[in-house]
């Protein structure tokens, strides 16, 4: 036991004097989590909370276009940007040029040109539909309008930086507003045709505002957790895992350095097994990974709200959080030791260690969501220890789960740890180090 405590004491001292290693293990992940969460939070807010700027050039002077603009505004998805004075009198091509110019100058992400005959077309379509309805009821048609064109009589312009999925959302919202305006016009026209008087406002509201409410809930929510996922809940676990695995730059290269410098020769001639050194490094760096988790979690919980980011909400099952964090840390340490045992030079350990972690993070779902991975990557994903760490953390942080909900991930982590430890043991035995 004294040998182990002396070795831990030595390892801690060496670690604390390795300033570059400490920066890699603590400074870099903290910077990463701050930057990535800030960037991703603005994306989350763009989609979830902030309104998308929409410049509308209304060339129509009828009532339908005004109702359409009102409906677009009511959706709450867009922030309407007023068109410059005189835009309404522009030709179609000039209006398109104006929208292009304004979008290029980042005045708005989206631009909409409502054609001059918008209201007339809506009215014509309403009359056409009303005539068909009357005919189908066996009534004399009072509406004799030709079939209206099927194409949407508005043009939507977009900034190319907008992702397709986002454009589709905007398009869907505009269709919804158009549908409302068209339905309203058809109802009014039909009511007038049947009753020869205007549709009362109260009845119009009843007919058009009877939509069933959509209650939005995370599908995997447990324990009545109704917190919607945000950038913090996604990023803190991801980058904590990333930070943990980056101990390879200190631990992996430290083992190689020890093997390559003279101290290793002396260690091998002393009456103590090198297994003590490996065990000491495991304990020391396991504490390092726990410290990393505590620091990054604390940042998320207490610093993020101060700088305007969503605060980190801890899972209800603290025991599960501790178990998962311990296993993630142990897995990271096992990986680093494995690399340290097999690498011949520090350059190999650092180069392979860093690159392999980035690759494992990418295939493990830390950078691209795992559901978006092509099927051919699923095997690689299941072999990435970072994937199982992330799944276990997401089970707790995003799904509000408990230990029993993440046991499958824990089991997978155990198997990977056992494989890494076994490989390291075999490597040490093969090199006659233990």
């Amino acid at each position: 036991m004294f040998k182990l405590s002396a070795t831990i004491s030595k390892d801690v001292r060496v670690l604390l004097r390795d300033r570059i290693g400490l920066i890699f293990m603590f400074g870099m992940p903290i910077l990463l989590v701050l930057i990535v969460t800030s960037i991703q939070n603005s994306t989350f807010e763009l989609v979830g909370k902030s309104k998308v700027s929409l410049l509308i050039c209304n060339r129509d002077t009828g009532g339908a276009s005004r109702e359409f603009i009102l409906a677009v505004d009511t959706i709450g998805f867009f922030q309407l940007v007023p068109a410059p004075a005189g835009a309404a009198s522009l030709s179609g091509a000039a209006a398109a040029d104006l929208i292009h110019e304004r979008i290029r100058h980042k005045d708005a992400l989206l631009g909409l040109v409502i054609p001059a005959d918008f209201s007339a077309r809506i009215a014509a379509r309403a009359k056409s539909v009303t005539g068909k309805v009357q005919a189908s009821f066996g009534l004399d048609s009072t509406m004799n309008a030709p079939d209206s064109q099927d194409s949407l009589p508005v043009s939507l312009y977009y900034d190319p930086v907008l992702q397709e999925s986002f454009r589709r959302s905007a398009e869907g919202a505009l269709y919804s507003a158009l549908q409302l305006v068209e339905s309203k016009q058809i109802l009014r026209t039909l009511y007038y045709a049947l009753n020869e008087k205007a549709l009362p406002d109260s009845l119009e509201r009843q007919l058009l505002n009877n939509r069933t409410r959509i209650d939005e809930l995370p599908a995997v929510s447990r324990k009545d957790n109704r917190d919607l996922p945000n950038a913090t809940q996604h990023n803190i676990p991801s980058w904590t895992i990333f930070a943990m695995f980056f101990v390879v730059l200190s631990l992996g290269s430290g083992i190689v350095r020890e093997k390559r410098n003279g101290s290793f020769i002396r260690l091998k001639t002393l009456p103590t097994s090198y297994a003590v050194a490996i065990f000491s490094k495991q304990l020391t760096y396991l504490v390092v990974t726990l410290a990393q988790a505590v620091v990054i979690f604390a940042l998320g919980a207490w610093l993020f709200p101060v700088i305007g980011l969503p605060p980190l909400h801890f899972p209800g099952d603290w025991a599960a959080l501790i178990v998962v964090t311990l296993l993630c840390g142990w897995c990271a340490v096992s990986y680093a030791i494995c690399i340290g045992v097999f690498a011949q030079t520090e350059e190999q350990a650092n180069g392979f260690g860093a690159v392999s972690i980035v690759i494992l993070a990418a295939v493990g779902g830390l950078m691209v969501p795992s559901f978006a991975m092509p099927g051919s990557f699923h095997l690689a994903m299941s072999l990435s220890p970072l994937h199982w760490c992330l799944e276990a953390y997401y089970g707790l942080f995003l799904e509000g789960g408990s230990l029993k909900d993440v046991w499958a991930n824990i089991l997978s982590l155990f198997l990977i740890i056992a494989a890494l430890q076994g490989l390291s043991f075999w490597g040490l035995k093969r090199k006659n180090l233990i």
Partner: protein, 262 residues
């Protein structure tokens, strides 16, 4: 010679500090370095092991300290076999490698604490021995400074201190004074003689033959994996009519370069 009184038994002859018999070893795919090699170092001696580059000194040292496993033969330290993975025998010897073998990020005290623990000492003994060694080797005033800041000579003294902290019965020294100034060399040689006078057996390799003459009482010259001469230093010089170890060395091993095949 007095006859043995009836009913009494002769006490067993003391085990030599080192006994190597029938040793064979070669690296895979290469011709053997040692074949039926034998060597005996009596306890209490200051034994010098010399030879040209590539003679097999370092390999022999690695075989003796258990860093390499012989393909055949027996190596015993004070009668205990050197078996790889069996670490009891490692308590009997100390090793001062040619490379500086410690953690430069740590101070002498921290290095000695760690290597002392790995040598099997308890906390109190480590503290006592550390204090003694730092005074003897002139490192008392820098005991808490990082070794990385030390001069070459100071680092050599730290290297030596670590090798002897557990007071081994047998000490292997591989070029312990390489790259140090005259003062440090003299201090190290003086200290090694003191250790020997307290009963520690020394096995020493070096290319500093002048230094070897002042330290060693017995020498062996090895070349191409075999011993070409072995005896007390004075007897060896007399037998080969040589005035010094360097002349004897050249006489027995030749003047040709001993470059290794690359």
């Amino acid at each position: 010679m007095n006859p043995q009184p009836p009913g009494t038994t002769q006490p067993p002859a003391p085990e030599p500090a080192l006994r190597i018999s029938d040793l064979s070893f070669g690296y895979p795919g290469q011709p053997p370095i040692f074949a039926d090699f034998a060597l005996e170092v009596p306890e209490g001696s200051r034994f010098g092991l010399f030879g040209p580059n590539g003679a097999g000194k370092t390999t022999l040292m690695q075989l003796i300290t258990g860093l390499l496993t012989p393909s055949r033969g027996d190596i015993r330290i004070f009668g205990q076999p050197v078996v790889r993975g069996e670490r009891r025998v490692n308590k009997l010897f100390g090793f001062v490698p040619q490379d500086l073998s410690f953690y430069e990020e740590l101070s002498p005290v921290e290095n000695l604490a760690f290597f002392g623990a790995w040598s099997g000492l308890d906390h109190a003994t480590i503290r006592r021995r550390t204090d003694e060694l730092l005074v003897i080797l002139g490192l008392k005033d820098v005991r808490d400074k990082k070794v990385a800041q030390f001069s070459g000579g100071m680092k050599r003294r730290v290297n030596l201190a670590i090798g002897v902290i557990h007071r081994p019965r047998l000490l292997f020294l591989d070029e312990p004074t390489v790259g140090v100034d005259v003062q440090t060399r003299a201090a190290i040689i003086r200290y090694l003689k003191d250790l020997n006078s307290e009963g520690m057996t020394l096995i020493y390799t070096s290319h500093q033959l002048g230094e070897a003459e002042s330290l060693c009482d017995r020498v062996a010259l090895i070349d191409q994996g075999r011993i070409v001469a072995q005896d007390a230093l004075d007897a060896l010089l007399a037998a080969h009519l040589s005035s010094g170890l360097e002349g004897l060395f050249l006489q027995l091993t030749g003047k040709a370069y001993r470059d290794i095949d690359v």
